[in-house]
């Protein structure tokens, strides 16, 4: 994928090269977006948006960078944009609906179950995903990239353009916050524990 010839063909807007790029990356981009936004339709839209943005910005892509990190970064940015849009919609209610048309807020989403979760873990995973939604934005992204997409700390640091130490700290805080949130949940819903 770092093949300079392939990148040159992409920058010349070769449809065949673009087709290869989509074929190679679509599942990883979709899975990443799905982990962050927790909605299949939104993740599908974001995946399309990512490749459309990549196609438009190919001439600005620096050949020495890894296309993977670049695509992941676009995915994270698009997902964050959507989450912020839903948060604004929740905060400003009717005003936002007049200004930007009808739309959903994140609280409207049903419990999310990732299609790749093992059958016996589905119920626990739904509770965990619900707790992930309440994490601060950066913690939510770092945790999703690690747990859902299976990326290493170094890869997450490249995507978020942070130092590895900062990412490790984000992940640690995310885990601690999730444990507190889950403990509260099980204390309030004892029949489920």
């Amino acid at each position: 994928m770092r093949d300079p010839d392939f990148i040159a063909r992409l920058q010349q807007k070769s449809e065949t090269a673009f087709n290869h790029l989509v074929a190679d990356w679509k599942d990883r981009i979709y899975n990443t977006a799905l982990g962050i936004v927790q909605n299949e339709t939104d993740a599908d839209d974001i995946t399309q948006e990512v490749f459309l943005a990549a196609w438009r910005m190919l001439d600005r892509f620096q050949g020495n960078a890894a296309p993977g990190s670049w695509l992941y970064r676009i995915t994270v940015n698009k997902s964050v944009d959507l989450l912020r849009k839903m948060k604004r919609r929740k905060d400003f209610g009717w005003l936002y609906s007049v200004w930007d048309g009808p739309g959903r807020i994140e609280n409207d989403l049903p419990d999310f179950i990732h299609p790749g979760v093992q059958l016996e873990k589905k119920q626990d995973a739904a509770i965990l995903f619900s707790a992930i939604r309440n994490l601060p934005e950066q913690q939510r992204i770092a945790f999703s990239l690690q747990k859902v997409e299976g990326l290493s700390v170094q890869e997450i640091a490249d995507i978020l353009q942070k130092k590895t130490g900062a990412v490790e700290s984000l992940l640690e805080r995310a885990k601690n916050n999730l444990k507190i949130s889950l403990a509260n949940y099980y204390q309030n819903n004892r029949h489920e524990s």
């Binding site: 599942d27 399309q48 995973a125 859902v148 889950l182």
Partner: protein, 110 residues
């Protein structure tokens, strides 16, 4: 104590529920959808229609038209005043209404 241990175990079990997760796969029609959107984007009319169909743009456009109308209406009275003056002058001229001439007619001769 026992309750706390159970709670801790339950939380740990939930935290591990994403272990062994199989990555989700994108729609098989994704490339077709992207190609469709790329060809849609190329049309200038679709860009204009897309912008105009946005409620925010429509509201801004309506505000601009209203402001333009208000500005035109507010700038009218000055020209209206001038035309009234013109009409009075025309009327005075048509009827030979000249105040100085009337004053002269009533002059008492010594």
């Amino acid at each position: 104590m026992n309750h706390n241990n159970n709670l801790e175990k339950r939380v740990e079990k939930t935290m591990e529920s994403l272990d062994g997760l199989v990555p989700a796969t994108a729609s098989p029609y994704l490339y077709t959808k992207i190609r469709g959107r790329l060809s849609e984007d190329d049309s200038a009319w679709s860009i204009i229609a897309g912008k105009l169909s946005n409620p925010a743009t429509a509201i801004v456009l309506a505000m601009v038209i209203l402001l333009l109308n208000a500005w035109l209406l507010l700038s009218k009275p000055e020209t209206g005043h001038e035309s009234v003056q013109d009409q009075l002058s025309d009327l005075a001229y048509d009827y030979n209404f000249e105040p100085s001439a009337i004053a002269e007619q009533n002059n008492v001769q010594p």
